[in-house]
């Protein structure tokens, strides 16, 4: 895969770190919002891929992303509802959303193998970034044990998504 593209992906998501470094760390309502948003954005990316791609492997991957992230987010909603926590928008979730909108627009102009490659490369970069945020910030900073546990489950899952995306990326040199 193109290093430039990967770098671009990392740079797009770079705001994730500074936004959280400014204070003591995100609160549980903020963490819940970031995790939920990250999942929803990947579901939207998967929907775009399912609209545009005809590659069976890319489509199978996108279907797994859509299904797995929906399952985690369903649990996240059940948890915050039970805990009476209202997810709180914050600069990190906003920057994730903005970056995803830019990516979606860029990918909308591509088709065929060019789209497949761009989608898969972005999925690699996206999962790397989100997983690093989960490992270094979101999981350590989560106070509620159930939230922490759900984030850990998410990380287990998303690491496999990352590996899956990296595997696919090899097919698009």
């Amino acid at each position: 895969m193109s290093k430039a593209l990967l770098l671009a992906g990392v740079l797009i998501f770079a705001p994730l770190a500074p936004a959280m470094a400014q204070n003591a760390g995100p609160s549980d309502p903020q963490i819940a919002h970031i995790a939920y948003t990250a999942g929803q954005l990947d579901i939207e990316a998967a929907k775009q891929a399912l609209q545009k791609s005809t590659n069976p492997e890319v489509r199978a991957f996108a279907e797994t992303m859509e299904r797995d992230h929906a399952a985690v987010n369903e649990q996240a909603i059940a948890l915050v509802t039970r805990l009476h926590v209202t997810p709180e928008a914050n600069p990190t979730s906003t920057s994730l959303t903005d970056a995803a909108a830019a990516t979606r627009q860029r990918l909308a102009g591509l088709s065929g193998a060019a789209f497949d490659k761009a989608y898969v490369d972005n999925e690699v970069a996206y999962h790397r970034t989100v997983n690093e945020a989960l490992r270094k910030t979101l999981i350590p900073d989560a106070d509620n044990a159930e939230l922490k546990s759900l984030l850990q489950t998410g990380l287990e899952l998303f690491q496999q998504h990352q590996a899956h995306a990296e595997h696919l990326a090899h097919d698009f040199p």
Partner: protein, 103 residues
């Protein structure tokens, strides 16, 4: 009808030699297949219990079985041939395991 009876008679002598089939369980939790059952014999059934939130599958590399496992579901397959069968989740390739089936 006559043919069916003849078929049943031809197969019948093989039956007493086979031990009653058993069901062995593999629990899937936190994106992992649990410990593989021991003492699995040809004709036994393996049941996969999916405790995860996510859809998985138990898909044999040699295509001996392919069991779809929605969240919370249990799926089974009969082990029909002896040998070591490597399998994986078709959705999460890092989830791998194997079952040893003896004749």
């Amino acid at each position: 009808m006559l043919l069916m009876t003849a078929g049943a008679l031809a197969v019948a002598p093989a039956l007493p030699a086979v031990a009653a089939p058993r069901t062995h369980t593999v629990v899937i939790d936190k994106m992992k297949f649990g410990p593989s059952p021991e003492g699995v014999r040809v004709g036994d059934k393996v049941a996969w219990v999916n405790r995860d939130l996510f859809r998985h599958s138990a898909t044999a590399r040699n295509r001996a079985f392919d069991v779809d496992l929605p969240p919370g579901a249990t799926g089974t397959a009969v082990m029909r041939t002896a040998g070591t069968v490597a399998y994986a989740c078709r959705f999460h390739a890092a989830m791998t395991a194997e079952i040893v089936v003896s004749g």
